[in-house]
Amino acid sequence: MRRNTLTFILILLVIGFATWLILPLQGERLGRQGMRLGLDLVGGVHLVYEAQFPEGATAEEKAQDMERALNTISRRIDKYGVTDPIIQQLGADRILVQLPGFTDIEAAKSLVEQTGFLEFRSVELDADGQPVYLSNYLSDNRTEFFDRSEAGSRVFVARRDIPDRKIKKDNPVVFIVKEGGRLKFTDETGDPIDTAWLKDYASEMPSWIPARGNSGVQLTGGYLTEAIPTVAQQVTGPDYQVSIKWNDEGSIIFDQIAKRLYNSGAYGTPQRALGIFLDNKLISDPQIQEPAYNGSAVITGGFTQAEVTELANLLSSGALPMPLKKPPLYQEKVSATLGASFIEMSLKAGIIGLLLVMLFMIAYYRLPGLMASIALLFYAVLVLALFKMIPVTLNLAGLGGFIVSLGMAVDANVLIFERMKEEFRAGRTLGAAIEAGFNRAWSAIRDSNVTTILACLILYWLGSSIVASAAVMGFALTLTIGVLVSMLTAITVTRTLLRLFVGTRLAKKTRLFNVV
């Protein structure tokens, strides 16, 4: 009996500790955090992307690129101040991005999706040093570039909006690449396109070729060390710009290009312009005003304040090593208000469910039922404490699993009490019947709970193997924890509580045990 009292005290201590642990349930109080809530409960955006690797990339290269991509995306999101974002690799080529509390899904997508590949281009010149336009390429069936020394792709961007084709100003219209001894007109993804409609616009679109240093290296965003948004006060109002700094190598290449362009034509001619391209979109084509810049420059282009902030963020977080497939494989967005109402509804369901189960247990099993009800309360507290300690991210399905488990957690007690009744009817004393009830019900409790856990493990595997998975995994995890904890509370706690009564006057009143 002494040992039982000790166990009882131990149980009280554990419960006390667990209760302290779970408070506060929500929000923050006294410097302690509430439960970790899933995206569907707090609102937010959940995206899964597939990376598009260049053909022939080895597994090792892919793994490296994935790591760099995750870092780049993390840096971009960090600057947006999202709390607890999750950026994870799924499988070999997928990236999961979860932004709790951030509900602007389009902004989130553009933040993640932009490759952020910054490159510099200059206008192609023909043999006479005159700028080449798309119309020159379209006019005769050429098989060669005008500037044969440059083998890279030519980009042509719209100089004004083209509403019929849904192309906005400065966006790429057509690319020319050389393939198999012929020139090929393609779109951004490399598919051939129809050139007939381009005639009306061709004479205004210059041919942009990669701007290279004297050694043949193209100038890209990879040579940047710094990009910060700045503002210059002009007579016309504030001019938002991005100030950039080159590293030593980039500084040399930049000055070599600047010198060449400076000497190629008069101020204001196309050949004097340096095209700054972000993901093939022309963001600015300033005129080169000096033959040397010594490592720093500004990007101007009539930007808004928000645009320079985003551009600077993109440039300083670096380019993605590979593009991501659009649209994402999976997108989910839940508004914060919807999430809040889910929490409220689940709370109601949980409390009502709990009370009804307790009511039933007490009405049917009397005193043991009351003990089981107390054990059930302990169960709820312990499980919530575990959720917080592990920590388990609770989503709607997880909460559902927890609430259902309240009904299933008394199963072990039901098994034991039914057994107790039988043993008592078979002529044992109440104390002996209680002990026999617990001992004999054990094999059924053990074998039956293993099956539930087995089903949960398979569910968890399913959850981890598919993309839209958070709900399934949350349910499986909460139910598994529930089953394990219920075995502890329904057996240890109920038994200890009941033993406290054995030998007292209460135990003589068999009516209290509803065993007759």
């Binding site: 899964v48 899904i105 997508k109 849904k166 659009k326 649209p327 994402p328 494989l329 999976y330 997108q331 989910e332 967005k333 839940v334 508004s335 919807l338 509804m345 689940s346 369901a349 009502i352 469910g353 709990l354 009804l356 189960v357 039933f360 247990m361 049917y364 709607l396 399905a397 559902g400 609430i403 259902v404 009904g407 299933m408 008394v410 199963d411 039901v414 098994l415 039914e418 004999r440 094999s443 059924a444 074998d447 039956s448 709970n449 293993v450 099956t451 539930t452 087995l454 089903a455 398979i458 569910l459 399913l462 193997s465 598919i466 993309v467 839209a468 709900a471 399934v472 349910f475 139910l479």
Partner: protein, 305 residues
């Protein structure tokens, strides 16, 4: 003493009838797969002003989404389901709708690509199959000290498939009437049934195991029946407490996990029935080699035809 086991052929008849109705519904109506399994986009919009459902439908159709499905999911709140939308398409659609019906906010948006949808459907099927095989092996192993443990495993899994079939069939009837689609919550509910149903069966099998060891009777049917009577209180009470919490979920949380709650509820009833009336009595049928009684009038009918 009740005679539960003796009425086994009635149980088989009841189950058979329900399963048959379910299968007919599955063949005729099928299960409508949600976007998780077929790909597409699902957009929930809350309008500030009253919106007429049929006008909304017309407008969405006019915008070119002739396959769109539109459901009212609450006050001035509508769910619009279309094929996979690109960012631009979604922006245009939302702009067009707010132009026509006044300001609205986007409360939920889901979009699933075909690749992911195929993967999800395949893995969900694998999960259910693996779970069934896992249960068969586990029950066989748990009863390894009994003569012919494989029979316990097989009967438990037949009861399981019985529950799954009933849940699918009844859900198919409901979805034919109410237009429900199956989603991941449906699969989650299905797997929860697998765990629950076997759990209940194992408790009864455990009692049979114990009573056989005690030598309660030489007649297997008497042993099974006695075990059923002894565990009846437990079987019903546990189902009842679980039903209480599932009902609480259904009433208070409702729509978002409706699929889970409904499937689990059907499965709970089917599982309680099968763990008492199907799995243990199948053991008797197997023991007594009564398989012939399943089809007593079948040859007769054939002769008539």
């Amino acid at each position: 003493m009740f005679n539960i086991a003796g009425k086994r052929f009635w149980y088989f008849l009841i189950s058979g009838a329900v399963i048959l109705a379910g299968i007919i519904s599955l063949v005729v109506f099928g299960l409508k797969p949600g976007i998780e399994f077929t790909s597409g986009s699902m957009l929930t919009m809350s309008f500030k002003q009253p919106v007429d459902s049929s006008q909304l439908k017309q407008e969405v159709f006019r915008l070119g989404y002739t396959n769109a499905i539109i459901q009212s999911t609450g006050q001035e709140q509508f769910l619009i389901r279309t094929g996979e939308l690109s960012s631009e398409q979604k922006t245009l659609l939302e702009a067009a709708l707010t132009d026509k019906f006044g300001p609205a906010s986007e409360t939920e948006f889901y979009s699933v690509s075909p690749l992911v949808a195929t993967e999800t459907a395949r893995n969900a099927a694998i999960a259910v199959a693996v779970a069934a095989i896992g249960m068969l092996l586990y029950v066989t192993w748990a009863f390894r000290k009994m003569p012919r443990p494989f029979r316990y495993g097989t009967c438990a899994v037949i009861a399981l498939l019985h529950d799954v079939l009933i849940a699918m069939g009844v859900f198919s009837i409901l979805s034919a009437i109410l237009g429900w689609e199956i989603n991941l919550m449906f699969i989650t509910g299905m797997l929860a049934i697998l765990g629950y149903s076997i759990n209940a069966t194992v408790v009864i099998f455990d009692r049979i195991r114990e009573n056989l060891k005690l030598g309660v009777s030489a007649d297997f049917e008497t042993v099974v029946n006695e075990s059923l009577v002894q565990t009846l209180g437990r079987s019903l009470n546990t189902s009842l407490t679980t039903i209480i919490t599932v009902l609480a979920l259904m009433f208070f949380v409702g729509a978002s996990i409706q699929n889970f709650v409904v499937v689990f509820m059907i499965g709970l009833v089917a599982g309680t029935f099968s763990s008492i009336c199907i799995a243990p009595t199948l053991l008797i049928v197997w023991d007594k080699k009564e398989w012939g009684r399943f089809l007593p009038w079948l040859p007769l009918r054939r002769a008539q035809a």
